[in-house]
């Protein structure tokens, strides 16, 4: 097992990883920008190294700064968290070249899954259902039009290097094809410095359902059930739950087994998530995330495993030690992402936390680096806390979540807690009757009414 691990991230996930290290008796080294000198994970770390100025590209995205810090601190392994360098295959490779262990999948798998077209091809070859569409990129608008005619409108044009909805365009009819193609290219170029785009069938009202897997270095793979992440705005997840209100036991097992089989065939290791669109009982692969995900806690609550602990164990070469039949699911869990944004206008609201009081009691979990007096730096993501609730049934879970949201005090800035409070009162949501477009419609509707 490792003696010392460097956490190449910030915010709540850095704290999450630090806590797992603590509980495993592993020394945790925090790296941070000057903007994060007072961050909770920095304060609680066994060692902390300032690696650069606030701008992420010079700190949290600086492979050289992070590897220098790892060398100086003499760590055994590096946990990348999510975002930043977590899905950067070159970084994972450099980490291994420097004789550190990268806590995550192999660089090759990260690279493969990072290329949306190659990934789609690869997973479909191992039996994972994909969205209808050619498995090549589009060279021009003409080819785009031809392809669209083949698979039928509406279609979606996506950046090959995609992610987070940038470089993504829906085309309803022949008329809009050229403009959408050019726009998608431009956005892709801007966002990823790389303008290759491809096309797939656009689904009208799908849910976003993803399957979590764990794999050791010896070919043992288990799935930990699914997460329903359909509550999204601008392709950003806001609330996730497990199990999905839309799946029955048979569907759950079927998709789980399909993913496990595929992951085995790919020789994939450590942690991963296969994201799907789900419509009319069919799953369509979107992408494979080769990292820990923001919403991993809902899976931890229902299956009783500590995913970060497992990632570290597996990276250290330990075998899974359990089989699919040992994974027992109990109860229901929901996670609310709490961002520092105005709940109506979504204006980012960085600043200094006045009073801070997290909810407590049975079935409540808060993952957050916030504390009274902490100043949220404007340079990074607006997510400042995750409220995770667990209960025996979805209904009790909703009641508990409502109770907890009411107790949460985050003073001094706007948060989207009021939006969460409104949406969990909506009959559609209570009935689990929502798709990936539901929240957008809900937010628009609400805006017209008095806040």
């Amino acid at each position: 097992m490792f003696d010392k691990v460097l956490i190449a991230n910030r915010g709540e996930i850095a704290l999450r990883i630090l806590r797992a290290c603590r509980e495993m008796g592993i020394k945790a080294v925090a790296v941070h920008s000057t903007a994060d000198n007072n961050a909770m994970h920095v304060r609680l770390a066994d060692e902390a190294v300032c690696i650069g100025p606030p701008a992420a590209k010079d700190s949290y995205l600086s492979t050289s700064a992070i590897l220098s810090a790892a060398t100086i601190a003499g760590v055994d392994a590096i946990h990348p968290g999510y975002g930043f360098l977590s899905e950067n295959a070159d970084f994972a490779e450099m980490v291994e070249e420097h004789k550190f262990t990268f806590i995550g999948p192999s660089p090759d798998h990260i690279r493969l899954m990072g290329d949306k077209i190659a990934a789609k091809k690869a997973v479909s070859e191992v039996g994972i259902p994909v969205v209808p569409g050619p498995d090549g990129s589009l060279k021009d608008a003409e080819q785009a039009r031809a392809t669209a005619d083949k698979i039928g409108y509406p279609v979606l044009i996506k950046a090959t290097a995609g992610g987070g909805g940038r470089g993504m365009k829906v085309v309803e009819s022949d008329a809009g094809i050229k403009e959408a193609f050019d726009l998608a290219r431009a956005e892709a170029k801007a966002a990823f410095g790389y303008d290759e785009v491809y096309m797939e069938k656009y689904l009208a009202q799908p849910r976003h359902i993803e399957v979590q897997v764990l794999a050791d270095n010896f070919g043992n793979v288990v799935h930990l059930g699914e997460r329903d992440c359909s509550i999204q705005r601008r392709h950003q997840k806001l609330l996730e739950e497990s199990p999905s209100p839309a799946l029955n036991e048979a569907e759950r097992q079927a998709i789980g087994e399909t993913v496990v089989k595929a992951v085995k065939k790919l020789g994939y290791r450590n942690v991963g998530t296969a994201e799907f669109l789900y419509e009319d009982g069919n799953f369509f692969f979107i992408e494979m995330n080769t990292r820990l995900q923001v919403e991993h806690p809902v899976t931890e609550m229902v299956c009783g495993l500590d995913l970060v602990r497992e990632m570290i164990r597996l990276a250290a070469g330990a075998p899974l030690g359990y089989e699919q039949s040992d994974i027992k699911f109990s109860g229901h869990s929901i996670e609310c992402r709490i961002t520092a944004e105005n709940p109506d206008t979504f204006q980012p609201s960085p600043g200094k936390i006045g009073d801070y009081h997290a909810p407590g009691g049975l079935g409540i979990r808060v993952d957050s680096g916030l504390y009274s007096g902490y100043t949220i730096p404007p340079h990074y993501d607006s997510m400042i806390a995750k409220l995770i609730v667990h209960a025996p049934t979805r209904n009790e879970c909703l009641m508990r979540l409502k109770r907890a949201l009411g107790e949460y005090v985050i003073d001094g800035l706007d948060t989207i807690i009021p939006l969460h409070q409104r949406l969990i009162d909506e009959p559609d949501f209570v009935n689990g009757d929502y798709d990936i477009h539901w929240l957008e419609r809900f937010v628009e509707g609400k805006k017209t009414k008095p806040g």
């Binding site: 050289s64 220098s68 009073d355 007096g373």
Partner: protein, 150 residues
Amino acid sequence: MAKSPKKNQIDEDLVRQLSSLLEETGLTEIEYGRDDWHIKVKGGVQQAAVTSQVQNTTTAAPTPAEPAPAADNPNAITSPMVGVVFTGPDPEAPPFIKAGDEVKEGQTLLLIEAMKVFNPITATKTGRITEILISNGSPVEFGEPLLVLE
């Protein structure tokens, strides 16, 4: 209420009364006076929680991280990167400079090794090295003061 308090005696009720008045009115300060006595009360300032929280959480933290004290001395030259600092071109060679030396702008003062690359730290201005804050081969953080050039 407030009758003139006896000699040197604090009329506690008066203070309490004013404090609840602060609460009620949202004022931050009340000053009240009579020919032969006066009183003034101030309410709390929000700031407070911050600094104390900083201290306390830090206490609670096993090993708190110290913010790099770069700002401490305006004349300090700080490290532009995390790495290992070297005072000379190689272990045997004498250091580039020592405390008290006069140096010219652009002159190499130290090397910082990061990722097997040696990055020279040069004098930002012509002047005198009054202090060297690091020792040969020691690791440095971004923003950590290396030496003082005046």
